[in-house]
Amino acid sequence: MAAEIYLNVAVSGLLTGLVYGLMAVGLSVIFGVVRVVNFAHGEMMTIAMYLAIVLFNGFGLDPLIMVVPLAAVLFALGYAMQAGIINPFITRPEHSQFILLVAMALIIANVLLIVFGPDARSVQTPYSFDSFLVGPLIIDATKAYAGAATVVITAALFGFFRFAPLGKAIRACADNYTGALVVGLNVKRLYALTFGLGAACVGAAGSMLVLLVDVTPALGPALTLLAFIIVITGGLGSMPGAVLGGVLIGLTEAMAGLFFTPSAKSMFSFALLVLVLLFRPQGILGKRPS
């Protein structure tokens, strides 16, 4: 009996972790290519979450169906942010990029606060309390759908970067900035596309996360921090690392909630981060800088 509880919690943590992982993949893609740390990552995620809530409450649109449309909306937002605001900062020192992105984070959080107020919001779908019985396991239906959708989206993103001509061009920019200019790639447009793709990950993940957690305008910084912990645990710039990191953090949080108390979950996530930094500073799947 006891073993089944652990297994159930583990599966639940793993599925939540996949959604975290998708969010972190977005951060990792942006950093790996554009070399800009998106300090507004969690805030962009809260934009997606509020949009999902508005669409659900106003039009009855299921957040799981809105995953793709919201990814498209956030793609457009990310593209516009990079093309309009961040590109001129690419060649500036890191601290001015930092200030720019923190400013964007503050603006997003406070606009959300003005529009939606400080109260926590959530959605109740008809399948909120459904679950699947798989042998001894009880799997929450919402988490199962979200986990499956995340796997499909991440696989599509991997395929895009591996095989699509644009994906190759983006990898070329990440590999050698000067080389990309030399062969005549439009680097600024590719950067905007990349930031858009990173934001699209956040759009998809946010629209799923709204089914799992309540959202407030103040959730942004916590999500940004979570994405950082995941990316650093998995290996900065490694997409598989971000997914793996997400799953590990999801598992850690779920287990911490089971063995101690859910409010202590961040402590265990940080403990995992500290362990990784001690024994494998480049992250689990990260490459050592050569």
Binding site: K168, D175, L181, G184, N186
Partner: protein
Amino acid sequence: MLRIENLDVFHGDAQALDDVSLEIDEGAIVAIVGANGAGKTSLIRTIAGMLRPARGRIAFRDTDITGWESYRVCNLGIGQVAEGRQVFPTLSVAENLDVGAMLPRARGAQTANLQRVFGLFPVLAERLAQPAGTLSGGEQQMLAIGRCLMGAPELVMFDEPSLGLAPAVVQQLLRTIRDLNREGLTCVLVEQNVAVSLKLAAHAYVLENGRITLAGPGEELLADDRVRRAYLGL
């Protein structure tokens, strides 16, 4: 084909190019020689749209391209084999060539260009799946030239193609550049190997501290006392 007038370029406060004017005729090999830090790479990068000139004008076939972004310059047919080769190290050889063929002007001719590159450098065809970072220096230089040719350029600027390579490989690369020129490619050759590049070039310019101090046919400069003393150690 390419005309440069009164070009001034700065890196911060330091002046890299000072009132540089030169002309590249279609079908020629033009050599630019000079010591390290004389401004050779700055000149190439300014033509390629990677640096903005403070003053002056760059015209390619009567099109004023001064201040154009690098991808627009490339798409006009001005290619570059950059200093330090600048291949994409984690991308495979095939992917490096694919990325070189992404210019709108080159999209229709990708298969023909690939055959041409494999004809010039058969070793690249043998290493298609290998990451470019694991190639030898000579092979990387071949890949850099091949990647540039995938963009169907009409003028190619070679920046120190022989740097750090074994003498036998250098001979082969210079022969390839000569052959490409005979097929109709206009070449700008920036080389530390002054004797060889002056022999190869129809016309040459000497760059010193960002200024052009001497210009003339390659053979003539090779016989010039100042050039022989400063660059050939004679």
